[in-house]
């Protein structure tokens, strides 16, 4: 990641911007069962493969600021919700990415239990968290 950022920086005009669109480091996708405006939280998901990559990326980004190569323009957090018809669709959805997240211990059984006692019209809701981070290259001599 550090090499990728270095290479990208070399291709920017003076004062150019680096922009990252990525998952939020400290916010995991969250599963809930919903029906008729009510919501029953199930669990947050874990991603043992993905989370270290997010941390490494944020460390690399922080490093650019620490080295005074870039200044932070700003960061925007956002969340969005995806609704699925049943647990089978949820499994399909979670495996659309290359690094599928996992249920923590007890999470899947809680989902199954809530789903068994669901109300008519119930859906499974996944809340996903993302961040956009923008930085501006520091001109040589102005740092």
């Amino acid at each position: 990641m550090v090499h990728a950022l270095e290479r990208a920086r070399q291709h920017l005009v003076p004062g150019g911007a680096l922009v990252f669109v990525q998952p939020r480091r400290l916010k995991r996708p969250f599963i809930a069962v919903t029906a008729h405006g009510q919501r029953w939280p199930v669990t947050g998901l874990t991603s043992p493969v993905f989370e270290p990559l997010i941390s490494a990326a944020e460390t690399a980004i922080d490093g650019l600021v620490a080295q005074r190569l870039f200044v932070l323009i700003g960061k925007k957090n956002h969340q969005f919700r995806v609704r699925l018809a049943n647990p089978s669709q949820l499994d399909g959805y979670l495996h659309t990415g290359q690094r599928p997240p996992r249920f923590p211990a007890g999470g899947r059984s809680r989902l199954q239990s809530l789903w068994k006692s669901r109300r008519p019209g119930a859906q499974i809701e996944v809340t996903e968290y993302m961040a956009v981070i923008a930085m501006r290259a520091v001109n040589k001599g102005s740092a």
């Binding site: 990641m1 090499h3 990728a4 950022l5 290479r7 990208a8 920086r9 291709h11 920017l12 005009v13 150019g16 911007a17 680096l18 922009v19 990252f20 669109v21 990525q22 998952p23 993905f50 990559l53 997010i54 490494a56 990326a57 323009i73 700003g74 960061k75 925007k76 956002h78 969005f80 995806v82 609704r83 699925l84 669709q89 399909g92 959805y93 659309t96 990415g97 996903e128 993302m130 956009v132 923008a134």
Partner: protein
């Protein structure tokens, strides 16, 4: 054969990322380098705002999909190329913005 159910995307709804980016940096008229463009899903959303875009992705198949989709939508200012940021040898630069889109 049972009909395949189309699953929702695990990306945000169209337009969300571009709106968030534009709150921080303006894309209009800019020369943009996108790293990890995948199938060009996000590229096609902002390309019409940009002056020119070079979008790179290591997966040949995704670049083929991206080129086809861009052509189908009449997007003509994007050059999709197979490559990685670490081995970047680019014409078309320098760029005003380098965008890493879900490319950890």
């Amino acid at each position: 054969m049972p009909k395949a159910i189309e699953l929702p995307s695990d990306y945000p709804p169209a337009g969300v990322e571009v709106r968030l980016i534009e709150r921080l940096v303006k894309l209009k008229g800019r020369r943009i380098l996108e790293i990890g463009c995948g199938d060009g899903r996000l590229t096609r959303q902002y390309a019409r705002l940009a002056s020119t875009v070079v979008a790179i992705e290591p997966d040949h198949a995704k670049i083929r999909v991206a080129r086809r989709a861009a052509a189908a939508e009449g997007v003509t200012n994007v050059s999709f190329r197979v490559g990685t940021a670490e081995r970047l040898r680019l014409g078309g630069g320098p760029f005003d913005i380098a965008l890493f889109s879900w490319s950890l």
